[in-house]
Symmetry: C4
Subunit: 236 residues, 4 copies
């Protein structure tokens, strides 16, 4: 496939995933963005900044290289672009990134609490708690804020010795969730499940604040039922 055609496909996939974000109720106004990467070309496509979802087209997507330089597109990229770029650079396994301010996940981020794994629905998607970052320092906020947001996410995943494939999201303290996956559409699906879990877990915590996590073997059972070589969910 020619490069031009690959770029067109990437634009289309990213545009469709951004629209899917709206269909799934994860966005109010323009609070949210999806990007995708073509690893072979080393090019990223991302939503333009502050543009309404009503008028999104594949052509409006902005194309950047892994240095964050704009390669193609008339509009400014999402103001969160440097965070996305950072995640693609540090996590070579991933192909799509989503950022939302979805209601319940944002509540956990604002409470500066990790989203605990309390059940099998969570374990079907994340092999353990979804972590929350430390608050960012004044230096990190004042200068190159969006790049530093990416770095603090990476720091969080690494410090906790997590695999970005097994725990494919983080809550940025006082901000909201960043989620990643194999491709942009799948990342939106994971973002939606994260939002669902954030709502369910809030209710569960209110019913039983002292409840410890489920046993590790139950979490592993469900994660591995859907992921990896021994998976037996679905039609594979």
């Amino acid at each position: 496939m020619a490069d031009g055609e690959r770029i067109s496909r990437l634009r289309e996939a990213v545009c469709r995933a951004n629209l899917d974000l709206v269909d799934k109720g994860l966005v109010i106004d323009t609070f949210g963005n999806v990007s995708g990467i073509d690893r072979e070309l080393g090019l990223i496509a991302i939503k333009p900044s502050g543009v309404g979802y009503d008028s999104l087209t594949p052509q409006a997507m902005v194309v950047l290289d892994l240095e964050g330089n704009k390669v193609d597109g008339d509009l400014n990229p999402s103001s969160d672009t440097k965070t996305h770029v950072r995640l693609y650079r540090e996590f070579p396994e991933i192909g799509g990134v989503v950022h939302t301010h979805s209601r319940s996940a944002t509540a956990w981020a604002q409470a500066k609490r990790p989203l605990p794994c309390l059940g099998t629905t969570h374990a079907d998607y994340f092999r353990g708690d979804v972590p929350v970052t430390r608050p960012m320092t004044e230096a990190e906020v004042v200068s190159d804020y969006e790049r530093n947001t990416g770095l603090v996410i990476v720091e969080t995943i690494r410090t906790l010795d997590l695999s970005p494939v097994e725990v494919s999201a983080a809550l940025v303290a006082n901000h909201g969730p960043f989620v990643w996956s194999d491709d942009p559409m799948r990342a939106v699906e994971v973002a939606r499940v994260l939002e669902f879990l954030a709502g369910v877990n809030l209710s569960a915590r209110m019913l039983n604040p002292a409840e410890p996590a489920p046993d590790r073997f139950l979490i592993d059972k469900h994660f591995l039922r859907k992921h990896g070589a021994q998976a037996y969910y679905g039609q594979k």
Copy 2:
């Protein structure tokens, strides 16, 4: 009626009930499944595993015998199939089984709390609390997990000396609700009421955590107004 026609009807009923599960908002993604049984034939139809609801057809339903062997169908059955089979074997009165990860019922399951009977809406459907199972052991999870999930549901109902007709649901700890009834469509209706009650009861608990259950005679009045020989609700 010929066996082939009976199987077609069962497939149709189960397919329709699975789609109804989505219409009633009890499912996100592919988290949920409905099955039904033809007791005369001893055959069960169930949703295929990991197939989107958009593309469900009666023909996609998988038909199994009461040993869990596939009798007809091209796809893999739901990964929860052995749980359904177990319930049909142990509760001969039932004709349909539903499993969901619906939001509020899942919260109670994750909190490892039975859903208390707090009022007449609950008593119209369930003659008492909807129980929660004990957590499963490592041995139960690692080997033949789905069958053991069915066994722990049955154990819960039996240990509490409940009638599976009067209390037609259980919350699997850290997982979510299983619900059963006379037929697949009715089981979906009961699952929807369970979800409604789980939401209402969460609010009621927050308003008055100390509130004891209503009097037993009020629960019996409402359950028997709708069920059994003395029922006088509806147009019978």
Copy 3:
């Protein structure tokens, strides 16, 4: 107008109000019913028992006299009919009655807490707290339960020395709200506001459990801005 035409109009108004109850999201399944009265004829029309809202027509409404005897209609009236009849007999000012199991109002009823007047939206509709009944006795439940439900509502309003025009609803303990007004459609509107307030007040209580009621003069100001001789809201 001839009596036959008056009855047709009453049937139509009651049917429309029952359908409006569904449109406003106050009903799941068949949990809810609306009635209306023609005071001149002394006749009540009410929803039939256990009939789906999809198939409701004016002709399906059941017509009764103030003794509760069926005067016209093929179907059984709502199982809650005697409660409605009791309210029409005891509160001669009212023209429509609604019963729902709406989510938040039912939570307050199950918590056996009156719905407190916490603000001006409440005071626009109810001049003070919406009371909760005492639990019913075994004798009241076992025999003539629905009539006794009406009596305990009336007892609650009278014991608290409330005007049924100023406080036009009550929560039946462990059950749900009954709401009344000038006519069936207006009663549905009040039931919807009650449900809205029940949700808002739950949140307010969680934010500030100790918060006392607003000043009496603020409640009176808002109630009287919309009701009575000095009202100045709207286009009158």
Copy 4:
């Protein structure tokens, strides 16, 4: 542009913003109103009182001068008109005012708690907490209530030494939110974000009641990313 045409445009903008309020789910029944001002003409247009949103047309909007005298229109203006007028007089920077009884913001108003700034979504719109007014005195309520409501909002903003451009909303104690902005449509957008934040912050508080506000530099970073000379969000 001729004055008549300017007035037509104002009516249209205000009508459209009122309808947008409904589309965004911020209104039940007729609880809510939007106004706008043409500063050059010194004329305000506002929703008529108690008129259903279904039948709103630009021509139904009521036009008033800054003394609150009706200049044009057949209907009575919103009963909250004097509050709007007061805000336009005291805050010369603003061009649109919205009042709602939206669910979560009303809960905070009833709890008499300011809406705390807990994160970046809040800081994108408001540079700090959204304040709550003191309760109004009996004298303020009994006489010229709506004008006094405006005065107590202004008092709240001034006493806390806030800029009405940086904190463009207040919660009236026991009542609900008033929100303002450059023009009517933008004020509706801010009202919607306020409602979103009120819901998120309620959840955050329940998860972590002790959580202090984010650092001031993070709030400033986000507010100034979207507002003022250094803004870099969007396509400017």
